[in-house]
Symmetry: C2
Subunit: 314 residues, 2 copies
Amino acid sequence: MNIPAFSDVENAHQIVQKYAHRTPVLTSSSINKIVGGELYFKCENFQKVGAFKFRGACNAVFSLSETDVQKGVATHSSGNHAAALALAAKMRGIVAHIVMPENSPEIKKKAVAGYGAKITFCTPTLQARESTLAKVVAETGATEIHPYDNFNVIAGQGTAAKELIEDAGDFDIIIAPVGGGGLLSGTALSTKQLLPNCKVIAAEPAGADDAFQSFHTKNWVPSENPNTIADGLLTSVGQRNFIIILDKVDDVVTVTEENIIAAMRMIWERMKIIIEPSSAVPLAAILEGNIDIQNKKVGIILSGGNLDLGRLPF
Amino acid sequence: MNIPAFSDVENAHQIVQKYAHRTPVLTSSSINKIVGGELYFKCENFQKVGAFKFRGACNAVFSLSETDVQKGVATHSSGNHAAALALAAKMRGIVAHIVMPENSPEIKKKAVAGYGAKITFCTPTLQARESTLAKVVAETGATEIHPYDNFNVIAGQGTAAKELIEDAGDFDIIIAPVGGGGLLSGTALSTKQLLPNCKVIAAEPAGADDAFQSFHTKNWVPSENPNTIADGLLTSVGQRNFIIILDKVDDVVTVTEENIIAAMRMIWERMKIIIEPSSAVPLAAILEGNIDIQNKKVGIILSGGNLDLGRLPF
């Protein structure tokens, strides 16, 4: 299997920096005071489409050859990857075929359609999503871009940690949330190359702890009946992602729903920025006492800022 | 009456820039597309204590002589000015006496107490607030710092627009919300000096339209029974503020509650930043069609980001 290395993140950055925002790194003296460490937040909630997913999708779309690109790209997703792929395809002037469950929120359907993607609706099961996508790919010849278990997507996601380290310097620890593992594996590639002594720690909801189980048993465990407010972290870790995680991640810790909500509220109230629940999972791990950050310099990737403002947990 | 000029804003900036954040200026391509103009948002929601009020309080506290400062400062406020004055006093190492209505939200009482201020509670009427403050001032010899009708406070608030113009260049229009008029009068001082051809427009809730009435009749009208979600804009315009507004502001427009909420939600959803309702009033005026901004470059001061997340209007 083709696994990216840091040089692939560097190549990805040449592409990504042309199209994506170089998002700011923010700090909060009041949160630092509460937790006893020095935290630096990489704000991918300010990224295009409101999430880090644009980096990977952008790299995947612009890495395709002129020949391959003609028939477009395809994926199944109801979340940030769908919007990211749709926008990246629009920027390259090609078609994106997106398979979405018919019960996806209207706001997400509109966002994807607004970027000009061709949407195919299916019944809301993983099986229907996969079979519908296979059919779309067979009919159109489009290139499938998996949301996380994809060489170019992983390399693209690694550019967030690369920028964080370039902009804010040395770190003792960098923490990322883990769902499929695209962000986490990319973060590990960049961090272990640029700061070999920096620990890379993954934070995961206890209600969707497949990465935690897989990492500690060193055997891939699928995500079964996950249940968490962090809706970006429901999926199983990908194969490429798991290989990189086993090789380069120092620890995976889990957090309660209560601490996810407390961390989310703390960031909203103290930093005045909007993050989605998945973004709050690293700070939740600190609040829960699962990561020792006393007097340490810690980088945190805030993965995105898309959520329904009418359905907040507080 | 002593009215500040732009040179006083320049002097204030020498002080304010030592203690306050130089807040970022953000843009949103999706909001620009919706409104048809080029908007630049000066993010005072990221300012210390979460509001522009820190600028004026800081200038007022640090402009006091060594003799005057010994007996501390005092004000009555249940809002952002109370926290701002408390923090500025703490930074100068003096005491701040804050008179607060006893029914103030717990979170605000805690914030002010957290900065080390001495709080005196009173019954929640303007008369009780003023008489209690007079008593505190008589007993302590503290210097009263009015939240907006104060020479140094106005000069301090003018530093936000000064930074906006320095950082984002020429503007056709700058829009600020108006309550007591501290931010608006300071904004007008800076704008008319630095960009004489730029219009300064004030936006005010229709449910608290004393500035609108005062401006258009050229006679000071008090705010009576104001009713708006924009709780920072309930007060009557101050005397010094009104003199500057009549001299230097080009127009005052009003907006509906519906458009304040729509504008607030648009900024939260599209920009992923948290603003309080008062901050949304300028964009509400644009959405309402009250200000022609087609193809114009427009600066907007986002006044603050403090609100109860448990009581959102959407």
